[in-house]
């Protein structure tokens, strides 16, 4: 009873306030407060930049790239910068000039900023390892170079080039196994032509047939339908989900006809798989591979990959297939973890034997 009375009182108090709507004066005051806060934040930022500018700096070469860092902590960065330089040099080869004259500032424990006309600042962890430094630099270089690639290649890879290859190959393995059955599962079984289709490197005549099996088509529609059901297609998608395969094909065909870019975008294997194809191509291509990958602004993904690898796409896909299927996901239950659990069990068991008294009462 008391709860009901409380709820009624709450409704009586809240309802009039809600009915009044937003108070213009209150909103104005909040805007003023926000402006004041923004001005204060800008003052703090400019003060931080002024102090930062006064700290003595060193310039370290990372291949063609110049890395600026606090002089007192330059020794923490040097090894990683050199490693990054070697990676850049090996990926770009003769095209390393693309980065010549570029500066990158590394700052400890702060976020990344890249204001127009300023040297971009990238944050490092407080106590970075050489690998942290290498990855940070490559994490900045990758997107920079990817932005030079053809629009089609950029759209195909989705996000900039990933350099942590162990993790990305494992992710590609998971992608390959868990993709909707059809071209991807045939690719997993070793059909390289299907790998090209599943990766969106080949444009099939009928994507719904080429990409997915019957059950998978229904699942694809189930995933796509909530975001795109217009007019009569709503009925088609409902019929598809009820098990009518021709309706699934009709729905997917309509979707691809409405947006040609989707043919590549919805190819069964996603970003992780596509990025690993690029990594394999660059490994195969050796010196200057990355430069060749991004050199032709009109190249489609297949041509760009062949240029980077210096080999036909079939060869690249064969190497890619072997590498990805061998990259098994990490297992948590290692023999070491099992032994540790056994060890702790024995410790706890031994604790029970150590006492001399009986529990009484």
């Amino acid at each position: 009873m008391r709860t009901i009375a409380f709820l009624v009182a709450l409704v009586v108090v809240i309802e009039p306030a809600a009915a009044q709507g937003p108070d213009v004066n209150a909103l104005r005051q909040r805007t003023e407060r926000l402006r004041a806060l923004t001005r204060a934040a800008e003052r703090v930022e400019s003060e931080a930049r002024r102090r930062e500018a006064q700290v003595p700096k060193d310039t370290i070469l990372a291949g063609p790239l110049r890395v600026i860092v606090e002089r007192s902590r330059a020794h923490q960065v040097r090894e990683g910068a050199e490693q990054a330089g070697e990676t850049i040099q090996s990926l770009l080869g003769d095209d390393a000039y693309l980065l010549e004259g570029r500066y990158l500032q590394l700052a400890f424990g702060i976020g990344t900023s890249s204001g127009a006309g300023q040297i971009p600042v990238v944050g490092l962890p407080g106590n970075p390892s050489a690998d942290d430094v290498r990855r940070t630099i490559m994490g900045w270089v990758g997107p920079l170079l990817a932005s030079r690639a053809s629009a089609e290649l950029r759209a195909w890879t989705g996000i900039p080039i990933e350099v942590d290859s162990v993790r990305i190959f494992r992710a590609a393995h998971v992608d390959l196994v868990t993709a909707l059955p059809g071209a991807a599962s045939r690719c997993l079984a070793g059909a390289l032509t299907d790998c090209g289709i599943a990766l969106g490197l080949e444009a099939p005549t009928s994507p719904p047939h080429a990409y997915w099996d019957e059950h998978a088509r229904r699942e694809a529609v189930r995933r796509l339908a909530p975001s795109w059901t217009q007019g009569s297609l709503e009925q088609v998608s409902v019929a598809c989900l009820d098990g009518d395969d021709p309706s699934c094909i009709a729905y997917l065909d309509a979707r691809f006809a409405a947006n040609a870019g989707l043919v590549r975008q919805l190819a069964p294997l996603g970003t992780a798989s596509r990025q690993t194809v690029l990594l394999v191509a660059m490994r195969l291509g050796g010196s200057g591979a990355l430069g060749r990958l991004v050199s032709d602004p009109s190249a489609n993904p297949r041509r760009a990959i062949e240029a980077a690898a210096g080999q036909p796409i079939e060869q690249v896909l064969a190497t890619w297939h072997g590498t990805v299927t061998a990259a098994n996901p990490e297992r948590r239950t290692t023999p070491g973890a099992r032994l540790a659990t056994l060890f702790w069990s024995l410790i706890f068991g031994a604790m029970a034997l150590g006492g001399t008294r009986w529990r009484v009462g």
Binding site: A189, R332, A337, T341, S345, A352, W358
Partner: protein
């Protein structure tokens, strides 16, 4: 003497053991009956059911660990004191008998997993891990059993010390927090216990009967 202790322990805990055995078979059978069509659907289903394994391991260790000492506590250890053996030896026999019963539940879990995974028609790239999951279940059950057995074997004073230590940690956490420090004692301890090399590392992560 060990056989007698094992036999009596089995007699006291037989209904519980049967219940644990049924659950150990029900989990894999439930997880793998009428599988979804897509590989990701299968993995989602198996991961969802997999959470029941660590829960069953805790239940197994807890029930067997407490039942092991229950009769001795009730009888004020008169039976144990009449035996011409030192306390450590008697406790070792009790511990060993409990481990045998825990292993028995683990073996049932393994048979259940083997039964559920046999003849499965899985998509390419997915494999069954009946043995790995059964070993993990067995080891975590034995670990929980050992912890519970150790706690139950102590005197009331020991139990008091353990509780006081826990209370002390909570108090320390409260004080550290009150002084505005960012240090989180309990969270750090929990992370250490669950990380590689820690006692509860095997509990973390998903328990997948079918995986990539």
């Amino acid at each position: 003497m060990f056989r007698q202790i094992l036999f009596t322990q089995w007699r006291w805990g037989a209904p519980l053991m049967v219940l644990l055995g049924i659950l150990a078979i029900a989990i894999p059978v439930g997880a793998l009956s009428t599988l979804p069509v897509t590989p990701s659907g299968i993995l989602d289903r198996v991961a969802f059911w997999g959470w029941l394994y660590p829960m069953l391991a805790v239940l197994t260790g807890l029930l067997i660990g407490t039942s092991t000492w229950a009769a001795d506590h009730r009888g004020n250890h008169v039976y144990a004191l009449t035996l011409p053996v030192p306390r450590w030896y008697y406790a070792l026999l009790r511990y060993g008998a409990g481990v045998v019963l825990t292993v028995a539940v683990g073996v049932v879990a393994w048979i259940g997993a083997l039964f559920a995974t046999s003849g499965l028609d899985l998509p390419t790239g997915l494999q069954t891990f009946a043995g790995a999951v059964a070993v993990r279940f067995l080891l975590t059950s034995v670990l929980v059993y050992s912890v519970v057995f150790a706690m139950a074997s102590g005197t009331n004073r020991t139990a008091g010390w353990i509780l006081a230590s826990l209370g002390g940690l909570i108090l320390a956490e409260f004080l550290v927090d009150a002084f505005g420090s960012e240090v989180n004692i309990l969270e750090t301890l929990a992370i250490l216990a669950g990380s590689a090399g820690g006692p509860f590392a095997l509990f973390s992560g998903t328990w997948m009967l079918v995986a990539i």
